[in-house]
Symmetry: C2
């Protein structure tokens, strides 16, 4: 087998990079669980008819076929695996899981799910064919009070705040009711058509969007002006409410949307800080039709070109079996989308490529049982330890530890005396394998940003937002 | 969407079952890392030509196709995803990863990998189309000393020993050199053919295997007798060496195999205990051709019908790029294969379906901000907490906690006084959200075996082994 090349769109990590990803996953999981969210996993495959319900992504589905099927010449048959595809998000499988297990779940059901998803897209920067998402959702049976919208926002803000090795985040929130009520009050014939034009503001200049609104949605110049004025509103507190009122339109749905968005921003504001900024941004709409209230997007400061890396919202019908409807609200964090570019650029790294905090040195091969015993005594006290692979000169064994980033080398002594060397400082002291413990920060690999943050292109948290690219 | 049904062969877990799986994964990972094994993940897909190198599993591969490809009418093309299949184990992808990244890895490279794999098999009990494996391997460049065989055995014994909610394990070891040297000394023309017949001992009676040996491999009656005598040898210590010598054959390869196997059994014996038994079993051969020395199988006591749930061995050429060869030794633990049947039968369960240790009760909806603050203060001290979804009567809120298995309900008082109730004992005491802490065993869901172990069909650890079923 010749040396294989990487597959485009299927990123893989080296051991020290995987340490970073694993620590991010662990941190997310810990936060989600602190908030009472239960972890589940769903199978990687769903029936094709379920995957094709969301029209816009249907072309990105990977379809499965058993190799045997082709050889058998059969194309269908129960249980043959025909009609299965890999899931392209975690929402479709979760909706199916809720319906399938509704009788065994307690509602409201809070779940997190951190799994790989697959999309057969043409690979491009920041887009992958296999990537990991971390989703949280709360799902109710029949009804789901609005305070759960606030809850998922607060949980995700808490989770992102704890990812302190990553650049800061900016969570942008809006509300579909607010937009729809405003457009209705404005007299728009088709509010969805207006929304679709306004949603192009991240790609087109305002004048062009204005022209489209007039040419294609039947709005007059003044109405189009007000649409753009609404989309231009953003604030870090609930002052956006007054700005909207100043545009002089009234509608019950607009009022409901304003109330909800103001409540959300007020409830999240105390959690905002250096790590996460929260902002009402009335240009955010999210392309997907199923959102019915709150919508979320999130930018990584200094990496706005990645687009929204954490998005979601309220859907009044996540799932329905005809008799019962399950409303939900959730956010999906694009773990690979954030991490893979940072790791590829070397912006983030772990300070060692192995879990070992200690390498037990080996004078000769006969000393291996004694070295194993030292290692076992250290492991019994939760100190990750490996024994030297071969009894080379001690200088070589120290360099072996250095190459892996292992901070300590242990030298078992001839008569039960032991010494341990911190190879960073060079200091070497007597030590007892039954009691010696390294400083807690040396126990596990540490993740360190390798460039000063904020990156050069980062906008300061307090200024007006920079232009963004939507996915 | 009508209520969906489960897909045969793709097991999914309810939240409380997932707790068990997650704790097993966490425990395995912790042990592997204590021994210095680095965690990696590989992509789910490999080029089909790689997957088809192992002839015997080729029919089980799931082949991928982008839906778009069919619509475009193209069947090939660079980057189109044609020629990809889902991996059916973690060894093929790991070998490819080692070759692809050889220049960036430090050897010997110790890695663990806990991931899903897919096989398009006809579903049957204990066989799945999607399942999780936990693999450890040590890989060297050019050479890999024998002590790494001992190392992976010790690591897996340590890992299995710590899975104390599972039934006990019995690790059975043998050595291909031993068998091959013995058959060669015996005068067998084709040792592989003899091995294949003897490997049928778990499915056929000894007389029938004896008949096959004589009829199909050219051995005479006395030679076949000695083959069966060798396969009948097993011991918990190195006394098997004498039993083999008593069969009166000599060969350098036999001697080397005996020395290796004896060293392995002696080195692992101190780690054996109530949870894991270790045994030299000279009938173990493993079907796969690439093993060249040590071979491992493992039975779950009382669940021998599951076959070997943790298998592996030494392969002198895990991977090669023509110039450099990478020998390896590893073991693969069939996580789903063990857990899914136990969970399905209800033999194992978690004592709650949510991570929450505390439910903060709600007197009315206006009290939500105060309840959120209590919850945040508890979470700040790593106590998983949820706030009641709605301000029902307190009796209803307590039953809500009971249904989820949440042990504590917190009642925020009117004037900053708080009380917390242990709903299992009914005792309710004053508490401060800044300092109250539950007993550590209540912090996270606990996994409990729900039936007394050993199960009725379990053989005591110290007696002769029961007949086994190989996969």
């Amino acid at each position: 087998m010749a040396r294989p090349s990487p597959l485009s769109g299927f990123p893989e990590l080296l051991p020290a990079q995987r340490v970073v990803e694993q620590q991010v996953v662990d941190s997310l999981r810990r936060t989600f669980e602190l908030h009472g969210f239960a972890g589940i996993e769903t199978r990687a495959v769903e029936p094709m008819d379920q995957l094709l319900r969301k029209g816009e992504t249907s072309k990105e589905v990977y379809v499965l076929r058993r190799l045997q099927e082709a050889e058998e010449g059969t194309g269908s048959g129960a249980g043959s695996g025909v009609g299965l595809g890999l899931h392209f998000d975690l929402t479709v499988p979760f909706a199916r899981y809720v319906l399938e297990n509704a009788g065994k779940l307690e509602f409201p059901f809070r779940r997190y799910q951190i799994q790989k998803v697959w999309r057969g897209e043409r690979p491009q920067e920041g887009r992958y064919r296999e990537f990991t998402q971390a989703d949280i959702d709360v799902v109710g049976r029949d009804t789901l009070p609005f305070h759960h919208d606030v809850e998922v926002a607060r949980v995700m803000v808490d989770a992102l705040s704890r990812l302190d090795v990553l650049p800061p985040f900016r969570l942008q929130v809006n509300n579909r009711k607010l937009i729809q009520g405003f457009y209705t009050a404005l007299g728009a014939a088709d509010t969805a058509e207006v929304m679709r034009r306004v949603d192009k503001l991240d790609k087109l200049p305002p004048e062009e969007v204005h022209r489209l609104l007039v040419a294609e949605t039947g709005l007059d110049e003044a109405q189009a002006d007000r649409c753009l004025a609404l989309a231009g509103i953003r604030s870090n507190d609930d002052s956006f409410v007054e700005q909207v009122h100043a545009l002089g339109l009234e509608h019950p749905l607009l009022t409901e949307g304003l109330d909800e968005l103001a409540a959300l921003v007020r409830a999240c504001a105390p959690l905002a800080g250096d790590r996460v900024a929260i902002e009402a941004d009335l240009s955010i709409a999210r392309g997907l039709d199923y959102y019915t209230g709150t919508v979320f997007e999130t930018r990584l400061q200094g990496h706005e070109s990645l687009g929204s890396i954490c998005s979601g919202g309220r859907y009044d019908a996540l799932a329905t079996d005809g008799r019962t409807t399950y409303p939900g609200v959730g956010i999906s964090f694009g773990l690979s989308r954030v991490l893979v570019p940072l790791l590829a650029r070397g912006d983030l790294a772990a300070d060692r490529s192995v879990p070992s905090a200690v390498l037990v040195a080996l004078a000769d091969e006969d000393a291996r049982p004694a070295a194993d015993e030292v290692a076992d005594r250290l492991r019994a006290r939760d100190i990750p330890t490996e024994v030297a692979a071969s009894p080379q000169r001690f200088g070589k064994q120290i360099r072996y530890a250095e190459r892996r980033g292992i901070p300590y080398v242990w030298f078992p002594g001839p008569d039960g005396t032991h010494e341990v060397k911190d190879i960073r400082s060079g200091s070497q002291v007597g030590a007892d394998p039954g009691s010696w413990t390294p400083p807690v920060e040396d126990l596990h690999p540490r993740v360190v940003p390798t460039v000063p943050a904020p990156a050069p292109e980062a906008a300061p948290l307090t200024t007006a937002p920079t232009p963004e690219e939507h996915p």
